[in-house]
Symmetry: C2
DNA sequence: AAGGCCTCGTGAACAGCGTTCAAAATATCT
DNA sequence: AGATATTTTGAACGCTGTTCACGAGGCCTT
């Protein structure tokens, strides 16, 4: 009556997610997982090649859920007949902020892990999930009438999303009291307001010609 | 004729910086430092309480240099009589991008370290250095005529900087080939263009009234 | 039922890590 | 010079991820 191989894998991932959320990447230990799952250390390595794979699997589940949350938020607004671009972008940003707040320990771990594999070979499932998130934003931008071609709209979506992301992660560097949460939201509001206004006035085409290097 | 205590500390920090830049935080090992510095492991712990303190010291030196680089870039533009806000912001962003590119290994370590101490008590020297960077951006924004009061200008500065930061760090998740560098710069250009245009048209005051939670 | 095979769980063992601390070496003072 | 204070040392401790020879248990064939 023991658990299936796949069931045990999911149990391990659930335990790993809790560990990551409680103490970050440093808290993800093979022996702790084994003990809490009621198996031996070796069995953990039977299910996953190493702890990196466990960490990666947890992160992908998180990214997946985040994407689903974003899509759900968009569907909600659609149902309510909200078609204003600024409202919709703010709703997406709010969903993102809430998600990060709900995963105080594991979200930093997602980012740190993500960054660590910079040396590895080309794109993989990880990037695909991130692209899904970009696509959602691009879809919202498409509703606005900014005179952007597909390429430029995709660029704007990535820019906007990366910016929100930067605000949230920069903000969560400091103490996570409610004052900080307010500051983050003020920044997001300002960014989105300025961004939409800027797009409306053709700011996406304002080239200054500065050379990067 | 051995080195002074402070000289040895600097030697250790120089070695640590190289190690971090070459292999990230995981490459910062007490035994490696000791070997390369020609001292024993124990002596490293005589100079610094633990490796965290070494890492922190290296990061603060980097942030310090980054601030100096930004100020130097501003002084250059001032000397050339460039007063256009968009140009100046782009120059700052370019300085930031170049700095990150020049420290491919240690800059991620700065961020990861920064994030890790989220549980610690209040503001410290680390935050002070980050505030210095915000102040430089705020100074540039002051030159523009956006009708912003001090408080709102500071918020805009933090927002803009966090956004640039997000673009750069998100971008460097993927492979660091030159195509990626181009993508990053395109995003920065779009962000700055849209941001300035948005500020000019009062986007900083466009409230949508969406509640965060 | 007995034997052979094979898959899978096991936990002791290994190498490496950060960190400590009693002792040795060096420096400083009387 | 002798005594005292300081600093340097590296072996040792406890922890980590990871491996792998071993043995238990199921499954098929004889």
């Amino acid at each position: 009556m023991a658990l299936d191989k796949e069931e045990m894998s999911e149990k391990v991932l659930a335990i790993a997610e809790t560990l990551l959320n409680e103490g970050g990447a440093a808290n993800l230990k093979a022996r702790t997982i084994a003990e809490q799952a009621g198996i031996s250390v070796g069995s953990v390595y039977n299910l996953f090649a190493d702890l990196d794979e466990v960490h990666r699997a947890v992160n992908m589940r998180l990214l997946d859920r985040l994407g689903a949350t974003g899509l759900a938020a968009m569907a909600d607004l659609e149902r309510q007949g909200v078609r204003d671009v600024q409202h919709r972008i703010l709703a997406m940003a709010a969903a993102y902020v809430r998600f990060v707040e709900a995963h105080p320990g594991s979200w930093p771990a997602v980012l740190a892990f993500n960054r660590r594999r910079a040396t590895r070979p080309g794109p993989d499932a990880y990037d695909a999930l991130l692209d899904d998130l970009f696509d959602i934003v691009a879809g919202v931008l498409k509703a606005g009438d900014f005179g952007l071609d597909d390429k430029r709209r995709a660029l704007a979506a990535r820019t906007l999303w990366s910016s929100v992301h930067g605000i949230v992660t920069s903000g969560y560097v400091a103490n996570s009291d409610s004052r900080q949460a307010e500051e983050i939201w003020h920044q997001v509001e300002l960014l989105v307001g300025v961004f939409v206004k800027g797009l409306e006035h053709g700011g996406a085409f304002a080239h200054a010609g500065t050379k990067p290097v």
